[in-house]
Structures are given as structure tokens and as C-alpha cells.
Amino acid sequence: MKKEKKMKLSLPEVELMNSGHMACQGCGATLAMRFALKALGQKVALCIPACCWSVIDGPFPYSSLDVPIFHCAFETAAVSASGVKAGLEMVGDKETTVVAWAGDGGTFDIGIQALSGVAERNDDIIYICYDNEAYMNTGIQRSSATPYGAWTTTTPVKHFKNRPKKDMEAIMAAHRIPYIATASIGYPEDLVKKVKKAKEIKGTKFLHIFAPCPPGWKSQPEDTIKLARMAVQNAIFPLYEIEWGEKYTLNIKLKEKKPINDYLKIQGRFRHLTKKEIVFIQEEVDKKWERLLLCVNGSK
């Protein structure tokens, strides 16, 4: 009798996200959740503040996820998770991983105070920010995660965003928490590995997942994965880890850093940029990349 061959999968088979959710076509945030839940498994509780995911999950009384969700106030994702964790522990559940799952607005802007408090206390939660670089749920308004040069409805072409994206990793590193990682929906194996790693660490873990948004970026739904991979390869969104605010590890090394041009070109939100502005953005990306390499090399 022939021995049955089992296909080897690079990602966990478990699916805790179901069809019927309410995301747009090509939504990066949806993939982020699907991959993260594959890593987290069933024994998890989510705290989701106002963000795309408070809609994507589905309206009452439906939910597209097979895990419990506390839909919490916009600025409270991190501390709601701390409260849930404490509550579960006091009723005898010490196993469940509690995850705050927030967008960039809820993390970089309105939720940063509560997040800072949680990180300073090193409360035992995983904080995951899926970053689509603007307030997409309210209809594409700029956040402090919006990159330099981007159009949004509150940074119109005549007055596009003229400040760089906030360096959230550096802010979190300053709190000296055990684990910080960037991840991308374009690199699912790396993403799953990082979420699994975070699950095993006690204390505050911060994960920042890059998640393209076709309606907000004015890109094609079929380009979502491509954009996510390009952003890693041109060092706009490098993939790395920081342990205890000190030890930097680069996960995807770049032999040759790709120019940012091709990445900007396929997104309508950058269409207005002149050559001069693109050169400036490239210079800024290069400088940030060099700074990151210094941190990585300094950690060795």
C-alpha cells in the first residue's frame, strides 16, 4: 500500500476567520487578521477599538471570527486589553492570550497615551497595529502614520502631507518592552513566526503590520500583496525586531534596495508628486534605512 503523502504547509492550517466579513476587495487588514489568528490559535481574546476592523468583523449579531471580541472605545485598545487580561486572570483563566487589535489612527494618534501606559507597566498583552497609513474607516483622512507626500481627504493635493510618518517603533523601544516587531501581509511566514514568538513572551509585545488599502491608496486590489512586498524591498517598511528596546534584528535582508519609484507609481495617492519630491522621499528612506542598519549592527 502506498504511503499517503501529506502536503507540507508553510502556514498553520487553522482558520479562525470566516467568509462573510465586510472588508473591501484587496483589503490588507483582513489578511493581517487571518494570518495573526493562525498564529494565535483559539485561546485568544481580542480588543478592537474604532477602526476598519470594527466594521469588517460584521454587524451585531454576527461576527466573522471564531474568537471573542470586545469592541472598545477608540483610544482604549491597549488598556482594555490590560483590563481583560486582569479580569480573566482573576476568574481563573491564566492561559488566554489577550490582543489589542487597532489601526494606525487608534495606535499612532488617539490611542498612544493608553498604549504608553500599558507598555510602561509591561502589562502582559500583545498589541497589534495594522497600518493602512490613514483613517480609512472614516474615509481616508491623514493620521500620523500617513507617509510624507501622500494625498488624503484632509491633505489634498495642493497641500499634501509634509511631515514624515511617526516612528512608532522608536517610541515603543523607548519603553523598553520585551518585544517589538514589524511585519507585513506580503511576508506571511515571517508575520506568523513573529506573532507566535510574541505569544510566548510575558509582558507587553508590540507588532506593527503593514497593510495596504486599495480605496485609500488608490491602488488596484490585485496589487495589495505586491505593494506590501515592494515596501519591504525598497526599505519603506523594513521587517525587523527589537528586544528590550535594545537588540535590533533585521529579518529580511536586502542585497539591493529597490528604488521607491515603482512603489509610488502604482498608487494614486502619490500621483501628484514631482521628481524633486520623489528624490526627497528617496533620500529620507535611505537615511532611515542607514539608521536602522546602525541599530542592527550595533546590536551584534
Partner: protein, 384 residues
């Protein structure tokens, strides 16, 4: 066991005897001693609770909501600006049907900065769906915290236990601290039928269409309407076990009174002294202290004032452009039931200005000299 303790510590002992499991709080004058003592209790393990030392009141309430949803008994305490900062989450607590119990020390709102007593902080939150208990002694503060856990958890509606800044919060009184075993008998552990757990995944508080939202709010009000009877019932049970009744109002010489002074909070004890002195002068005064402001005890107030010739409501608060808030509520309770009984609305003691027996005598004199109020608001003690 009897102890001489401050009102703030009465809150702490109430939370301890109630076996609060998760406490999250942020310091603000005049509340600090509440959380200081609770920190000690958690540190020396005399209270088996997790204390989350948050970075703001907003986060304090958020943490309590998360813990409550997970099925833990939660407690916090705050005052004035802190309560105002929590405002959004007060709606979240009642809308989410999470029975958090919170102590609030009545303090005037800034600006100018004030740490002294008035009721505008808590009364500004009257429409957030919380039950509100205004206490008049440290003993009542401790007892009410225990009762509030019981009532809140039965109805799944949060409670605010309120005491005056300094006149109660920092004043030492003799307080009987009940036996833990007996309190455990009175107050069973919190065990909600639905909670946040991976064993039975639910999504709480998600997007709710017009098809469902209305009924959720209807149900909240319907449960709130059960509260007056439940407060009286649990108050009687408490009396049976601990010898002290915890009701909706407290009456002092109201039954044969011509003039009833209606008060709330610590000024109730001052009003009682004034009433006794007025009685000696031959004036048939009485004091009705409203303890529970939400839900508003319509029925009991209508009955309590039957037979009176005049009512004077004394407010240590104001709804700008309107009246004192207890005055508004009393009038609305009596409308159509009191056959033209004159109700006078007085405002006094804002920002911690002292309220003394002579304040009540002035109020009484004003009321006796007039058939009905000539002004929308009668101000007592304004120095211009």
C-alpha cells in the same frame, strides 16, 4: 468591628469587603486616600485583587470595563475632572451592561481650580445610565458600596457611590466595619451568564444597526426601572443582617411637617439639625434626603410630601440656563400629583462654600414669608 475612619477609607473598606477583583484608578484630590489604602490592601494581600495603576481616569474606566466583561468584580474611584474625562466610557459601561462600581468624591469643576465640594461633577453624568447614590455619612458610604455591587450585578447596570469632598471624604467618623463572612453571605460572587471567554466566543458591542439598537436601550431603561424596588429589597436584607437600612430616601420628621426641606449628600445631617432647632421654635419643618438620584425615586417622593404645605429643594449644583438639578427632578416628579404644592428652588454652597444650620434657617424664613416662589432660582449666600 468599629473603627474611626475617613469617608475615603470607607470606600476602600467597602471595596475590600465586596471582594473587588480588579481595581484600576488614577489619583485626584480629594480621592487619593481611597486608592492609597486599596494599594496597601492589594500589596499585603488582605484583598485578593489586581490593581492596575493606569495613566489616566479614562484608562481606569477602560480597564474596569475590560475586566468586568471578563467576569471580574471591578471598582474604581475618582472625582470632578477625572469623572469628566471618563464621560465617554460611562456610556460604554451602561451600554455594555457592565456593573462597575465607582466611588466619586463630589468636587467642583474647574476653572477656577477648586478641590471643594459641589455636585456638578456627578450630576453632569446623570444621563449616562449609571445609578447614583448620594451618601450622608461614612457609614453609609461603606454600606452602600456593598449594596451597590449587589444591585449592579443583578441588573447589569453600573453604580456611582457619591460623597462630598472633605465634609465626608476627609472627615473621620465612627464606622462599623461588618464581618467579612457575613458580607460574603449577603453578596455572592459575581457570575455573569455571558462573558468574554474563548470557551464561548461572542463579539461584544459591535456595529449595531437601527434594527437592533433601539431595543438594547429600551431594555437598559426597563432594567433601570426595576432598581428602586431592588434597592429597597436589598436595603432591607442589609438591615436584617447588619442593622442598617439602605433605602432610596431618608425622612426626618416629614410626616407632620408643613415645610419639607429636600436635600442630598452630607448636608442632610446639617438639615436635620436645622429641622430640630426649627421645631423648637414652633416651625413644623422636616427633611427629606434623596439618596438615590438615578433611578429617580418618583413614587416615594410623591408620597413623602403628601400633607406638606410647601417644599424647599436645596441644590449644591446648577444646570446653567435652567435650575438646580434636584429641584428640576422633584418638580417633574410632583407634576400632576401634588395639587399645586409650591416648590421653592434654592442654590447654595457651590465650590465648597459652607452650608450650615443657619443656611437652612434662611431658606426656611424665605419660604415661610412667601406663598409661592417669585424667582426661578433663589440664591443663598452669594456675596456680590
Amino acid at each position: 468591628m468599629k473603627k474611626v475612619i475617613m469617608g475615603n477609607h470607607a470606600l476602600s473598606y467597602g471595596a475590600k469587603l465586596g471582594r473587588a477583583q480588579v481595581i484600576a484608578a488614577y489619583p485626584i484630590t480629594p480621592q487619593t486616600q481611597v486608592v492609597e489604602l486599596l494599594s496597601e490592601m492589594c500589596a499585603d494581600k488582605s484583598l485578593d485583587a489586581m490593581f492596575i495603576k493606569v495613566e489616566s481616569e479614562h484608562s481606569a474606566m477602560a480597564a474596569c470595563l475590560g475586566a468586568s466583561l471578563a467576569g471580574a468584580r471591578t471598582f474604581t474611584a475618582t472625582s470632578a475632572q477625572g469623572l469628566a474625562l471618563m464621560h465617554e466610557l460611562l456610556h460604554w459601561a451602561s451600554g455594555g451592561r457592565l456593573p462597575v462600581v465607582m466611588g466619586n468624591i463630589n468636587r467642583a469643576m474647574a476653572p477656577g481650580w477648586s478641590i471643594w465640594s459641589d455636585q456638578n461633577d456627578s450630576l453632569s453624568q446623570r444621563d449616562t445610565g449609571w445609578m447614583q447614590f448620594y451618601c450622608s455619612s461614612n457609614q453609609e458610604v461603606l454600606d452602600t458600596v456593598i449594596q451597590a455591587f449587589k444591585v449592579s450585578e443583578k441588573l447589569l447596570i453600573p453604580s456611582m457611590v457619591i460623597l462630598d469632598a472633605f465634609t465626608l471624604s476627609h472627615t473621620y467618623e465612627v464606622v462599623d466595619i461588618p464581618d467579612q463572612k457575613k458580607v460574603d453571605e449577603y453578596l455572592p460572587p459575581f457570575n455573569p451568564s455571558i462573558k468574554l471567554t474563548p470557551e464561548e466566543p461572542h463579539a461584544f458591542g459591535g456595529l449595531t444597526s437601527p434594527e437592533h439598537y433601539f431595543e438594547l436601550r429600551y431594555k437598559l431603561q426597563k432594567e433601570m426601572e426595576k432598581a428602586p424596588a431592588l434597592i429597597e429589597k436589598t436595603g432591607k436584607e442589609y438591615e436584617k443582617m447588619f442593622g442598617r437600612y439602605l433605602g432610596l430616601v431618608e425622612k426626618h420628621r416629614c410626616d407632620d411637617a408643613d415645610l419639607i426641606l429636600i436635600t442630598s449628600g452630607a448636608m442632610g445631617s446639617t438639615a436635620r439639625i436645622a429641622v430640630d432647632e426649627l421645631r423648637k421654635e414652633g416651625i413644623k419643618a422636616g427633611n427629606l434626603r434623596i439618596k438615590v438620584f438615578r433611578p429617580f425615586p418618583f413614587e416615594i417622593i410623591r408620597n413623602a410630601v403628601k400633607g406638606a404645605k410647601k417644599i424647599a429643594v436645596v441644590d449644591r449644583n446648577i444646570s446653567y440656563g435652567h435650575h438646580g438639578m434636584f429641584f428640576e427632578e422633584v418638580k417633574s416628579a410632583l407634576y400632576g400629583y401634588s395639587d399645586g404644592l409650591p416648590v421653592f428652588g434654592f442654590i447654595t454652597g457651590l465650590g465648597g462654600r459652607d452650608i450650615t444650620p443657619s443656611t437652612f434657617k434662611e431658606i426656611t424664613q424665605y419660604t415661610l414669608e412667601r406663598d409661592k416662589p417669585k424667582e426661578e432660582i433663589i440664591w443663598i449666600g452669594v456675596k456680590l
